[in-house]
């Protein structure tokens, strides 16, 4: 029975001591400790949400970069293919132009050749005519050196004339 009978003195001392302990610990231990724990938790939560935001931002940037890169790559391809087309066009144009120019020059040359040829032919004809005349003159002169032959011819010619 003595065991379960609370002793008045101990009750009083325990009450006093416990309340003082509660006050002192509450003011100087639990308050700073719980405050620090709360602060740290808030800090961790903040940091986590910031990290999450940074991750999102990062993903957004990566996406943007990728799309930019894709766009750039497409542009590059476009430019390259354009350039190729232009090149081909230029080559084709140049070829055509060269062809035309060549043809024109050949034509001109041909015309010139023809001209020169006709001039030369005309010259030759004149020469031939002059030579022929001279030859003919010389031949005629030679044939008609004696009078008999001249008379003979006149008479023949006269015979031929029919009046």
């Amino acid at each position: 029975m003595e065991l379960v009978t609370p002793d008045l003195g101990l009750v009083v001392w325990t009450t006093l001591s416990f309340l003082i302990l509660l006050f002192i610990l509450g003011k100087f231990a639990w308050k700073p400790i719980l405050g620090a724990l709360n602060d740290r938790e808030r800090f961790i939560e903040d940091s986590l949400s910031k990290a999450e935001a940074a991750k999102d931002e990062m993903a957004r940037l990566t996406n943007e970069n990728e799309s930019l890169l894709k766009q750039a790559r497409a542009e590059r391809d476009q430019i390259l293919s354009d350039a190729r087309k232009v090149k081909e066009q230029m080559i084709a144009d140049a070829k055509e132009l060269a062809h035309k120019e060549g043809a024109r020059m050949i034509e001109l040359a041909r015309v010139e050749i023809n001209n020169q040829k006709s001039i030369a032919m005309a010259d030759v004809k004149n020469q031939v005519a002059t030579l022929s005349l001279q030859i003919a003159e010389k031949v005629l002169r030679k044939q008609f050196e004696d009078h008999q032959k001249q008379d003979e011819l006149v008479s023949q010619l006269l015979k031929e004339v029919k009046l």
Binding site: G9, W13, T14, I24, L34
Partner: protein, 363 residues
Amino acid sequence: MNNSSILNSKIFKPLLISALFLLFCVKPTLSFSQEKAAEASEKRFDPKELVFEHIGDSHSWPVSVPFMSEHFVALPIILYTDKGLEIFSSEKLGFHHAEGHEAPVYKGEHYSYKLEGKKVVAVNETGEINKEAKVYDFSITRNVISMWMGMIVLLIIFFAVASAYKKRSGRAPKGLQSLLEPVILFVRDDVAIPNIGVKYAKYMPLLLTIFFFILINNLLGLVPFFPGGFNLTGNIAVTLVLSFIVLIVINFSGNKYYWKHIFAPGIPLWLYPIMVPVEIIGIISKPFALMIRLFANITAGHIIVLSLISLIFIFKTAWMSTVSVPFVVFMDCIELLVAFLQAFIFTMLTSLFIGMAVEEHHH
């Protein structure tokens, strides 16, 4: 029996450790009883006396050094009588007088006093108990000193931890701080918040103080030598105070739903004469259960350990220690668990009751 075979055997080392352990363990109380036994040689060893000597309170503090005789330090006796205050040393009352001898009578300013068992009583000239004198004992007993030592340990620990939080703010916990932080977080996140809910912050200082006060005193109670070796949390006065504080906190934080549940529960009118008294008893019985649970658990553990040690002296052979000591070690392990468990349960139920009192009903 050949002693050398014992020395060579593998169990010698554990045995030696057990014996040393035993020496440190039971020195304070056992040598006391041995001394007594020597003085009254015919008197048989009384385990009940030994156990109750330890479980109860006393006006002296046993100081024991291994291999040396035991000393008792006198503690102050503070008496409040109907004629005024009396303060004197317990030495005057012969706190350590042998059983069977007449206790010495000390003549104070107002009355004469002597020890009747462990109680200080006023006596008249003939040595008879003076029934008319009203004497209230507010002495600094062994348990009061123990409690103060426990509190000093608590203050040292938590001031160090609190300063660590200030010094290392924003950094990871270290040392003692990181040892206790999970415990503090456990009390907050697994005891207070699930039971009390959003209003938990107001009750955190009380819950933490109760938890660590019970825990440190349970643990110190398991230490068999200074600064432990007492039975504070197994003392009904201490558990009474703790549960009374809980009772007051519960009822002062009770909201209108709590009181409505007690005095106007939604039941048929004819049930009121039964239900209202039951609910009022419930107010008392909840903290009462807390008080009895802690007291009984801790006291029972101490009684079992001491009884096992007493077996050695009942059988009057040191060989009994080969049986007793392993059992005591086993019991101490269980007591270690109980020390945490009871601190946890007390705090848990306190927060549960507070939670029931502050709960908001939406209907």
